[in-house]
């Protein structure tokens, strides 16, 4: 096999591998940054949410994802309110 032919075959292969390797890094970085931003947006939403159950949409890689945020504090508050309402009504009948 002539050197020219060897080079002609090897060069695209080596170049492809190098380009692949070079491109993998930025893609990985971009994906990680997007995922981190997405996660941060979800965290921000959970901090801002003050409903027991709240749905909203976040965009990730051009697609819309439905995010459900919950507030344990409000759920706790609501359950206590039901419990208290029972106590208040019973108190209204039973207390002197």
């Amino acid at each position: 096999m002539s050197h020219t032919l060897e080079t002609a075959i090897a060069f695209p292969i080596v170049l492809s591998v190098i380009v692949l390797l070079i491109s993998a890094g930025p893609v990985l970085y971009e994906e990680t940054v997007d995922a981190a931003d997405f996660q941060l947006s979800a965290i921000r939403q959970s901090i801002q949410n003050d409903n027991i159950y709240f749905k909203s949409n976040l965009i990730y890689e051009g697609e819309s994802y439905e995010i459900v945020s919950t507030s344990p504090e409000r759920m706790h508050f609501f359950i206590r309110a039901i419990e208290d309402s029972g106590k208040i009504l019973i108190g209204g009948v039973m207390s002197p």
């Binding site: 070079i22 990680t32 207390s95």
Partner: protein, 472 residues
């Protein structure tokens, strides 16, 4: 010769690859490292969020149990969860601090938030307590006696009859809905109707199945159906976040003060006996403080000295009773006639004693007699109120044989303090409430937490407060 060429060529390729690959590896390594750091930063913020949730969950139990409010103190602020969860903690440091010392402005948001969802039951409880005698007649009625005697089939018959009159109930409900629509200033009527409709459908189906003898848990399934559950929770959220006019907030703050703070009364009494004075939830104040305090009188007067504040409250109640009694006597024919008789005797007596030199008309003396009567009755009323008994709002002769009406307008010590509290500016009330909360639950109460972290030279700050105090 060809061997020499061979080596020359291979060496060139190796050097070429070494140079290029080194650059590639360096670039890739930098990017991988940057990606890893970015991933670690996201994980750091996730762990900070977990840490905030853990700190907020560690609320001051005393404050919640006694007064229904959320708050933290500095002792529950830590970084344990973050230290356990975050894998890169060697490069990170986190500082946690309580955020937002509880103020009157926080109470202005938190108290109406607490009271709003409980107001329907508070009002219902108040009505029930005032119409207990009517309630007694209902529970003694035939239909309830049947229910008690476990005659299930007959009891179900009553339910069927009740449900069967839906045409009548339909008219009533339609009238009610029309009336509510007229006064629907909040624009929430549509949500409520949607919720009512879905809930009504689920209940209607379950009731029909139950009456047909199907004992499968259809009702639970219908209500726990994700769509219905989502509607129910959505309705609850809307209800809890409903913006009320500021006057409604002020009234709820007033009601909160009356319902949750101890007064100098130790026992409340009625015909059935006596019970320790309790808060809205039926918890005796002595269980809360261990002693009897005059917090409500302090909120009313702002005077720290218990003796003086209670004395002031008594004088105010006495004054109020005198005014109410005098006004009721003026429209009470029976009492007016009695006063007139006494006035005539007094008028005659004055004329006789002064040998006709002083003449006071009986009509004028009648009002003086009524006033003295009101003073005396006011003192009796005040004494009863201080001892924990109830008195009728109006001391009118027509109420003497109207037991149910008299029960409905009976008043106790707290009712008067609540009425007078309406005249106290809301900022003053909140300031005094805050003083008592700090006395009972610790001087440092916070409404949120702030985390500040550093990771490889970058700074991250995350803050959160209880939803009850967050701006709408």
């Amino acid at each position: 010769m060809s061997k020499h060429h061979f080596f020359c060529r291979n060496g060139g390729a190796s050097i070429f690859l070494c140079i290029i690959l080194s650059a590639v590896v360096l670039t890739e390594g930098t990017l991988y490292f940057a990606a890893r750091i970015r991933g670690a930063e996201a994980d750091l913020q996730r762990c900070m969020r977990l840490q905030i949730s853990q700190i907020l969950s560690n609320y001051n139990e005393s404050l919640l149990e006694k007064y229904g409010l959320y708050g933290i103190d500095s002792s529950c602020v830590n970084t344990q969860v973050f230290d356990t969860c975050f894998t890169g903690k060697g490069d990170a440091s986190l500082d946690a601090k309580p955020l937002g010392l509880m103020t009157e402005a926080d109470l202005r948001k938190g108290i109406p938030d607490y009271m709003q969802i409980r107001m329907p039951s508070i009002v219902s409880g108040e009505i029930l307590s005032r119409f207990k005698s009517v309630l007694g007649e209902i529970t003694d009625s035939k239909i309830f006696q049947k229910a008690k005697s476990e005659e299930t089939s007959e009891w179900l018959g009553y339910i069927k009859d009740f449900l069967g009159q839906k045409d009548k109930w339909g008219d009533v409900i339609n009238s009610l809905v029309s009336a509510v629509e007229v006064v629907d200033v909040t624009g929430k009527m549509k949500d409520i109707k949607d919720f009512a409709s879905s809930f009504q459908n689920a209940m209607n189906r379950s009731t029909t199945l139950y009456l047909q003898g199907d004992d499968t848990p259809a009702q639970a399934n219908d209500i726990l159906n994700p769509d219905n559950l989502s509607n129910i929770i959505g309705y609850v959220d809307n209800y809890m976040n409903l913006d009320m006019p500021s006057i409604a907030d002020d009234i709820m703050i007033n009601e909160y003060a009356v319902s949750f703070f101890d007064s100098k009364i130790e026992y409340t009494k009625d015909d059935a006996g006596e019970a320790p004075e309790s808060n809205l939830l039926g918890v005796p104040f002595t269980d809360i403080h261990g002693n009897n305090r005059a917090d409500l009188e302090y909120i009313l007067t702002g005077i720290n000295d218990e003796f003086v504040s209670v004395g002031t409250a008594k004088i105010l109640i006495y004054d109020m009773r005198i005014i109410i009694n005098f006004a009721s006597y003026l429209v009470d024919k029976e009492k007016m006639n009695k006063a007139k008789e006494i006035a005539q005797i007094l008028s005659a007596a004055i004329e006789v004693v002064s040998v006709g030199t002083v003449v006071v008309k009986a009509e004028i003396l009648q009002f003086a007699v009524l006033y003295v009567w009101a003073l005396g009755q006011g003192f009796v009323d005040m004494t009863k109120l201080i001892e924990g008994e109830s008195v009728s709002l109006f001391d009118h002769s027509a109420l003497s044989d109207q037991e149910i009406l008299a029960d409905a307008i009976s008043t106790d010590y707290r009712d008067y303090l609540g009425l007078m509290l309406l005249a106290v500016p809301v900022e003053w009330k909140l300031s005094r409430i805050l003083t008592i909360l700090k006395k009972d639950c610790g001087n440092e109460l916070y409404t949120g937490v702030s985390l500040s972290g550093t990771f490889r030279g970058s700074q991250f700050v995350m803050e959160d407060t209880y939803d009850a105090y967050s701006p709408a």
